[in-house]
């Protein structure tokens, strides 16, 4: 009888674990289209206040683009720059401006500046949900230079993150 109840408990525990596991996995999947759009909208609002013509790229946790938006007056390099900034922020899990500063003083990080996909320039901000990086936003073309690009990208990254958090709170 005692053994039976232990088996039942184990079975119940297994059933609970199996029920939870798919949910935990679903959280691991990438950004949704709506979250990427929310990031774009928030960054465009910033650009409107700034009266600037921005180009923006959102990447997922793999560093692959989810969204591209190229400004009407953008120079040819802007969109590529935005993509590399987003890639850098996602890969090193820090704003690309912080990566620029850290890789300057730390010789070990120096070589990471040489990759075709990264760039030591401010304007890339990771999308953080708790301590987890689920993607990043990269911006090029604000009037405030690198700090301006970063502030604009941060507005987007935070909008996407808060949308993810709302979704998690509902579940």
């Amino acid at each position: 009888m005692f053994r039976m109840s232990r088996m039942l408990k184990a079975a119940a525990a297994a059933a609970i674990l199996m029920a939870i596991a798919p949910g935990a996995q679903a959280q691991g999947t990438g950004l949704t289209r709506e979250q990427a759009m929310a990031a774009l909208q928030a960054s465009l609002d910033y650009a409107k206040r700034d009266q600037s013509d921005i180009s923006l790229v959102v990447v997922d946790r793999e560093g692959k683009p989810v969204l591209y938006a190229r400004g009407n007056l953008a120079a040819p390099h802007n969109i590529g720059l935005a993509q590399r900034k987003a890639y850098t922020a996602n890969r090193f899990k820090m704003p690309s401006l912080e990566f620029e500063t850290k890789s300057q003083t730390n010789p070990e990080l120096g070589a990471q500046r040489e990759s075709d996909e990264t760039i030591p320039l401010g304007g890339g901000v990771p999308i953080m949900v708790g301590n987890e990086v689920i993607g990043a936003v990269g911006v090029s073309g604000t009037k405030g230079g690198q700090p301006g690009d970063e502030a604009c990208a941060r507005a987007g990254a935070e909008a996407a993150a808060s949308m993810v958090k709302r979704l998690q709170a509902q579940n």
């Binding site: 999947t29 990438g30 950004l31 949704t32 289209r33 709506e34 990427a36 759009m37 793999e62 692959k64 683009p65 989810v66 969204l67 591209y68 938006a69 190229r70 400004g71 009407n72 969109i79």
Partner: protein
């Protein structure tokens, strides 16, 4: 009297020198006669409206699609991947938009034209062009016969022709507002 003559001759020389100098500098800076180009192009705001209309159209048939809108030179103006779609889907959508823009017609028509046997001399070589994709789902954005952009849709449940229907709906959304 000779003094007056000298002054007159000097004056003539001075005028000539001024005239010569002006003529010389005029040859250095010729007047620009060729005007700069003014071209219509798809804006980011329009591209977003077009893409949204295509997404909405596909949503009616419960399809989540990836959409790309390119400008008149075939460069991405706006693109967004469907939730859960692969990076390849975004690249395919971009190529569809590019193909429709550059050949100024739906990609389904371009596939027809480039099918061997349709023309005495086959056009299939066009399919080797970079950035093109021989699938339906790309539609040009036309303004008075001028292609000012293109849209590519990928991933509808209606397959290639379903993609094209959503792409067409996207362009229709800005009809008359270009």
């Amino acid at each position: 009297m000779p003094k007056l003559l000298t002054t007159f001759v000097m004056g003539v020389f001075a005028l000539f020198a001024i005239f010569a100098t002006v003529t010389f500098f005029k040859t250095l800076t010729p007047a620009i006669t060729a005007p700069t180009l003014t071209q219509k192009d798809i804006s980011l705001e329009q591209a977003m409206e077009i893409a949204q209309a295509a997404v909405d159209e596909c949503k009616k048939s419960d399809s989540a699609v990836t959409v790309a809108v390119v400008d008149r030179v075939g460069a991405i103006r706006f693109a967004v991947r469907a939730t859960g779609a692969t990076p390849d889907d975004l690249e395919a959508a971009r190529r569809l938009a590019y193909t429709a823009r550059t050949f100024r017609g739906p990609t389904s028509g371009w596939i027809e034209r480039t099918t061997p046997g349709k023309d005495p001399v086959s056009l299939i070589g066009q399919r080797q062009l970079e950035n093109t994709l021989a699938k339906a789902g790309g539609v040009p954005i036309l303004l008075n016969g001028d292609a000012i952009g293109g849209i590519g849709v990928r991933g509808s449940k209606g397959d290639d022709m379903g993609d094209e229907a959503c792409a067409t709906a996207g362009v229709k959304a800005v009809d008359g507002n270009l």
